[in-house]
Amino acid sequence: MQLVCPAGSLPALKAAVRQGADAVYVGFRDDTNARHFAGLNLDEKQLQQGLELIRKEGRHLYVAVNTYAQPDGWARWQRAVDHAAALGVDALIAADPGVLAYAAQHHPDLNLHLSVQGSATNAQSLAFYQSRYNIKRAVLPRVLSLTQVKQVAATSPVPVEVFAFGSLCIMAEGRCHLSSYLTGESPNLCGVCSPAKAVRWEETPEGLTSRLNGVLIDRYQADEPAGYPTLCKGRFLVNGQRFHALEEPTSLNTLDLIPQLSAIGVTAVKIEGRQRSPAYVEQVVRVWRAALDSYQRAPQQYCVEPQWNSVLAGLSEGSQTTLGAYHRAWQ
């Protein structure tokens, strides 16, 4: 299985390559990609440098143009596709059928991967994109159980890539407007979820509070770790109970599932986190490279080294990891 790693900056790209990423995915510096955060992503010069390194090391570069184009900004999405094609990237990751159609018509040699934002969770949905836009691969949303991944992979017209590690979207990607409901900006249209500019931290007599556009997301006692107020990971009141009503702050970690994912025929595993630091990317990629190599060398003897998990847990939200939807009980 191919290891696909995130890079929100040139140092992160270098770290990923250094630690053995088979492919690195990046975005341009605008709202055409789903990690449109201030100060993130690569400018022209950095892209050229990154691409040179990737070519020299024999790896692949993917570019995500995976938000949905706003009609008044269509030219930006067109330019992003043209730019990716001109760079000669190994794949363009996209979700919007308008963008996919443009890419397929104007750059027939450009490999297209369906982004997780395309929200394709079944073989017929994948057939929609494959038959029309000749996608070569699809990234599956993090809502499928392992059994469902198996069913989809067995009947999919294209190879599938799945998320292996990183932040966990509790909602089907591309099918969540919670962020725009509170802040006006959503992953689909703006490439952001719970945008940093809407976040306010405040020390109060009741504890540290985090707010998103004025809405209280969580309140922490002195001994509680405080996390970024991604709105689905706050504590809310439901039926009079205060708890993580949607999801705990936790990260997906599927080191345990490498043999199953491989047996299913998953073509690539993806590390989430273009918004993360180069040091984060370095450590996560190192662990995953070691795990995949270990499995490759001796599939029958594969077992997860405790040290791998302790490194990953230290990098995870709330220091917790989960198998997420892959494990049915989590659902």
Binding site: Y68, P71, D72, I170, M171, A172, H177, S180, Y181, F236
Partner: protein, 296 residues
Amino acid sequence: MQLSLGPVLFFWSRDKYLNFYSEMIEQPLDVIYLGETVCSKRRALSLDDWLGLARELKQQSNAELVLSGLTLVEAASELSSLKRLCDNGELLVEANDTGAVQLLSERKLPFVAGPALNIYNGHALREYLAAGLQRWVPPVECSAQLVEASLRQLDELGVARPELEIFAYGHLPLAYSARCFTARAENRPKDDCQFCCNGYPEGIGLDSQEGQRLFTINGIQTMSGEVCNLIADYPRLAALGADYLRLSPRAEGMAEVVQSFHHVLHGAAAPLAVSGCNGYWHGVPGMLRAEDAGLC
């Protein structure tokens, strides 16, 4: 402009569905969407039951009956149910997943593009029109400006506009998950949910720790805490050329809702402001009421 009744998004008992539709069929509705769009485990009515209900309703009114498909289609069993729904042979289908679009397109059947399909611009609209889209219900987070710009873009592409239906009333469907939040709130595993969402005919309110109503939990679906209401926005909806306004069923008081929209559609003055939210339509956070945000 005409009125449509969206599919019931909550899980009700068989009797409650039947009573609801026997009341609704007396109302001035032009389109009625039937079927389960949220959770495949909800089977108070089977596909055959829905089709039977559609035949009965057809005899009592001239409303167009449409069958709505599931939104998050994951398991092989869900996909085969969706196939049977697309093969129903009688009713127009509302597709809420690209899988349904593919199935309908292969069968050369026209379809309604439900609000869960990600169509945000004219280029995407053209793609879905080529697949058989007949009526477009934009994603609920779209503003009037975005809808208008998408249609203008379509004009520029030289493609005829589809019918336009705007989600105008009800709890907004905002998100879909693998996890059932109702079962989670009741500390039940999803696999043994005991259909607990049946106990909440309008979902469960999710409030901030300060008591602010944020969302409504409805099984695997998360909805808006506020009820969206665009009746005060009628002039803009009319100017935009909306063909249908979708009213999303609530457990109580729907007849009054239909009546109030009907009166405005037939000449009564639209109110200047109503309770609930309409932020999305005005291009601001969906939870807001534009009148409060100083936008009107």
